[in-house]
């Protein structure tokens, strides 16, 4: 029997031997990681790999294993990498810790704090309600409104935060419509619109998820190249738009809505807005700062750096007393900051020691026949990995290898950032793929099949669009394979 949820506890009622087996798996996995580390350290030898590369590779093997099997929390594995690299002799301790101070890490921190301010003040919630109220007068426009709302908001704040914010609103809409979860196509559509909207919107800019800043952080650390806020957005917004059109079409095909009176849903949204009252001064200040920040990222990002712009905005928020530290503290995912610092350090160690090039040569380079197959292979690997593990970990694993393999196939390494980061964000098929999927699934409206079948189609279409973009659109903007 599956675990049952109760308040803040889950009681697992499966046979004890299964639970015991599962529990004993953790120490076994921990041990396997250590064995893997030792095995790579002492058994992998090649004339092309010097001892420091071998040590970096051993740390990488251990971290990949722990990340994939979730043996330790992701951020702890990252910290382990920072500790192990100097201990193993792959990187001086000073360098390992200095890499943690990468600009990408501070950009993510700033973006988190800005998003936290929007959420805490209720500004993001108000924005969502206003848009839904404007468009939600018939079932089709409400559905598309939910999709576009989630996608657009994910342009400017973490897609996970957007999903967490809009999910309760959609639940309330469905509740007032009295749609029984098992049979309601409209419930399925709205939930998927929320999940897919945030996912697709989240790949468009550097703010939707921390994958893109991480990929750019690794790119910058390894090659010195980078992307501006605008460059990244222009590169990926068309993909996001095209994929949105396909996703909305798939929702129509798989879950036709038919006749439905949604006036009560409209009323529920209106009620929520009424309860919020007028826009507060705090919301106004945060809205102005947020708008100015986005403008600054677009116009001044290249000159001053994205992280600097973000952190200046944060300082202004605190200086104007629009937010207090205790309001923000709980909203920032500090673990993610640690995770990214460690991942960038590890990627850099692999690159500096030549381990990444060697590993790419042994794997992707030996299977791929040319730039086309390299890009397809990397994108597929990212999309598969992100369905079963953290998309950040997927980026951390693939990005250093991709940059190394780019050198071997004479591909511009810059293209590897979107080729890895975009598919790593496209998780449509499984509830575990992304928190937005998990939330949609938890509503009770969706079965795994409802996610998996249209999600698979969306994956394939996404891969095709991504590769078409890479070969035909991105070169127009100066990013060529």
């Amino acid at each position: 029997m599956a675990p049952t949820k109760s308040g803040s506890f889950v009681v697992d009622t499966r046979p004890l031997w299964i639970i015991l087996l599962q529990s004993s798996l953790h120490p076994i996995l921990l041990l396997i990681g250590v064995v893997l580390y030792v095995a790579v350290l002492y058994s992998v030898s090649s004339a092309d790999l010097d001892p420091t590369g071998q040590r970096a590779l051993a740390v990488f093997a251990l971290c990949v294993f722990y990340w994939v099997f979730d043996v330790l929390p992701l951020m702890i594995t990252s910290l382990l990498a920072i500790v192990l690299l100097p201990l193993a002799g792959a990187l001086p301790a000073k360098d390992a810790y200095a890499l943690f101070g990468n600009e990408a890490v501070f950009f993510i921190l700033g973006a988190f704090i800005l998003a936290a301010a929007m959420m805490k003040s209720g500004l993001s919630n108000r924005l969502a309600l206003v848009i839904l109220h404007r468009f939600g007068h018939d079932p089709i426009t409400l559905l598309r409104g939910v999709f576009v709302l989630n996608a657009l908001m994910s342009f400017f704040m973490s897609e996970h935060a957007v999903a967490a914010m809009t999910f309760p609103i959609i639940v309330e809409i469905l509740a007032v419509l009295h749609l029984p979860p098992e049979r309601a196509n409209y419930g399925k559509s709205l939930m998927l619109a929320m999940a897919w909207g945030t996912t697709i919107g989240g790949v468009a800019t550097l703010l939707g998820g921390a994958r893109a800043p991480l990929a750019i952080g690794i790119l910058r650390e390894l090659t010195g190249d980078t992307y501006s806020f605008t460059e990244w957005a222009i590169l990926n917004i068309p993909l996001s738009v095209l994929l949105s059109v396909v996703a909305i079409y798939l929702l129509d095909v798989f879950f036709p809505v038919g006749e439905l009176d949604i006036s009560r849903a409209d009323q529920a949204v209106q009620d929520r807005l009424t309860k919020m009252g007028r826009m507060t001064l705090q919301e106004r200040v945060i809205a102005v700062v947020m708008a100015a920040t986005v403008l600054a990222w677009i116009t001044l990002g290249e000159q001053f750096g994205l992280a600097n712009v973000a952190l200046v905005a944060v300082v202004i928020l605190f200086a104007s007393k629009a937010v207090e530290w205790r309001d923000i503290e709980g909203y920032v995912n500090w673990g993610l900051i640690l995770m990214y610092g460690g991942a960038i350090t590890l990627g850099s160690a692999l690159h500096r020691t030549g381990a990444a090039a060697w590993l790419a040569d042994q794997t992707i380079a030996s299977w791929a026949t040319g730039p086309v197959s390299v890009l397809i292979f990397i994108a597929v690997a990212a999309i598969v990995l992100t369905e079963v593990m953290s998309n950040s970990a997927a980026v951390a694993i693939i990005m250093p290898l991709s940059i190394a393999v780019a050198g071997q196939f004479d591909i511009d390494p810059r293209i590897m950032a979107p080729i890895v980061a975009v598919p790593a964000g496209l998780s449509f098929m499984l509830p575990i793929g992304t928190p937005a999927n998990a939330l949609a699934f938890s509503s009770g409206y969706l079965r795994v099949r409802d996610l998996a079948v249209p999600g698979l189609i969306l994956h394939v279409v996404g891969l095709v669009i991504l590769n078409l973009m890479a070969w035909f659109y991105w070169p127009l903007l100066g990013t060529s394979p």
Binding site: M1, P3, T4, K5, S6, G7, S8, F9, V10, V11, D12, T13, L16, I19, L20, S23, L74, S158, H160, A161, A164, Y331, N333, G335, L336, M339, S390, N391, S392, A393, P435, A438, L439
Partner: protein
């Protein structure tokens, strides 16, 4: 059903327990001066004002004394120096009286006599920390129940610290092995789970002991999961009467505010959450036809719940004081049936076994197969090592089965 000897003073202590539980015992004059036995007023459960006796074979019984119906009992309790005898029809059997433990004379930090906080019955300390039972507050208490036992006349619950003082003193006395918390009806979704939670947590934090709890069923099953998760080792939702119509007549509160079917739903769910043999439900024999009690036993056993049988006794202060008592001839086959059904179903009888006020399936073996369960695991459970093992296994099971849900959405946002 197996044939049962009808000689109460026979070597079968189960039958003697049953007969004593039904008829009680008259007290000989030789006991009247024994203040050590009556340091505090005799305990009174929902069944009778009683003295705990240990019969031959180490069978524990709470024998009614001092009730009107015990004056006509064929049993008389006699003291000769420091030895006690049960006398009936010229025959005698030596028994031991469970003397009130020393902690009864002590007070808690806030000055409450400890015997008012918790009473020890055989191996366990029974504590009702709550205010009055919700059924009695609405005038819908069970007609056989002396509501003064369900939270007495307290207006406020007993402070957790006072309960801890009492448990500590009881353990120091060596009087008990585990703690049994019980509460009457609480009109809320959780049926009092959150009210009893601080006591459970405090006891678990301070003592290495098992905790059993008896409540009314909560409205949602998640509270059953919750109470297991916070440390309760055994749970009881006592339906008392299987026949729905009789339950409605005699226990309108249970019938209307909880509903008989809800008792069974809750018990069925609890049996999937708690270890085998740690979920039990009381049925009272003598208030409904025997066939109905048998059907109740079947219903409980089929869902993996341990039935525990109490024999109805008409208490002086209750609405059923004139209701006829069942005879031991009527009820003995029911005990035998209960034992056989539980044994066939493979429900562990060792967790809930020595209850002075009721007959457990473990004790009911005397009515079917007296030598069953001798030695083996049954003995192990009561040994010090066995008890230690049980406590630790219980803890390990909870550790394996219960996981905290991390509600932080952000933490999954990687």
């Amino acid at each position: 059903m197996s044939a049962v000897s009808q000689d109460p003073m026979s070597a079968n202590p189960g039958i003697l327990k049953l007969d004593l539980a039904i008829r009680g015992a008259a007290l000989d004059d030789s006991l009247q001066s024994r203040e050590d036995l009556f340091r505090v007023p005799p305990a009174r459960s929902a069944v009778a004002r009683s003295l705990d006796l240990i019969l031959p074979g180490n069978v524990l019984v709470s024998a009614p004394v001092g009730e009107a119906f015990t004056q006509d009992s064929p049993y008389k309790l006699i003291a000769e120096n420091d030895r006690f005898y049960l006398q009936s029809n010229g025959e005698r059997a030596e028994v031991r009286i469970v003397a009130p433990p020393g902690y009864y004379a002590m007070k808690t930090r806030s000055g409450i006599p400890m015997w008012r906080v918790g009473r020890s019955y055989g191996p366990y300390l029974a504590i009702n920390p709550a205010k009055r039972c919700g059924f009695s507050q609405t005038g819908s208490e069970c007609q056989f129940c002396d509501s003064s036992t369900q939270g007495s006349d307290r207006d406020e619950p007993i402070p957790v610290d006072d309960v801890i003082d009492t448990v500590r003193a009881a353990f120091a006395d060596g009087a008990i092995d585990f703690v049994y918390l019980h509460m009457g009806y609480v009109d809320s979704d959780d049926a009092g789970v959150q009210s009893i939670e601080p006591y459970v947590r405090a006891i678990k934090r301070n003592f290495d002991t098992l905790v059993a709890v008896q409540l009314q069923p909560p409205r949602e099953n998640r509270w059953i999961d919750y109470i297991y998760a916070i440390g309760v080792d055994a749970i009881s939702y006592s339906v008392q009467i299987h026949d729905a119509a009789i339950l409605e007549t005699l226990c309108s509160g249970r019938s209307q505010q909880v509903g008989r079917d809800r008792y069974y739903e809750a018990l069925r769910h609890a049996a999937t959450i708690f270890p085998n043999g740690t979920v039990w439900s009381d049925l009272i024999i003598g208030l409904e036809p025997v066939e109905s009690t048998l059907a109740g036993i079947d219903a409980l056993v089929e869902m993996g719940v341990l039935p525990v049988l109490s024999v109805f006794r008409p208490l002086d202060d209750t609405q059923l004081r004139d209701h006829p008592m069942p005879s031991s001839e009527d009820v003995a086959p029911v005990f035998a049936y209960m034992f056989e059904r539980v044994r066939q179903a493979g429900i562990n009888m060792n967790w809930v076994r020595d209850l002075s006020f009721a007959v457990t399936p473990f004790e009911a073996r005397f009515f079917s197969d007296p030598n069953a369960l001798d030695g083996g695991l049954g003995s192990l459970y009561r040994s010090k090592i066995g008890n230690l093992a049980v406590r630790n296994l219980s803890r390990l099971r909870r550790r394996l089965r219960v996981r905290k849900v991390n509600d932080s959405y952000g933490s999954s946002g990687l």
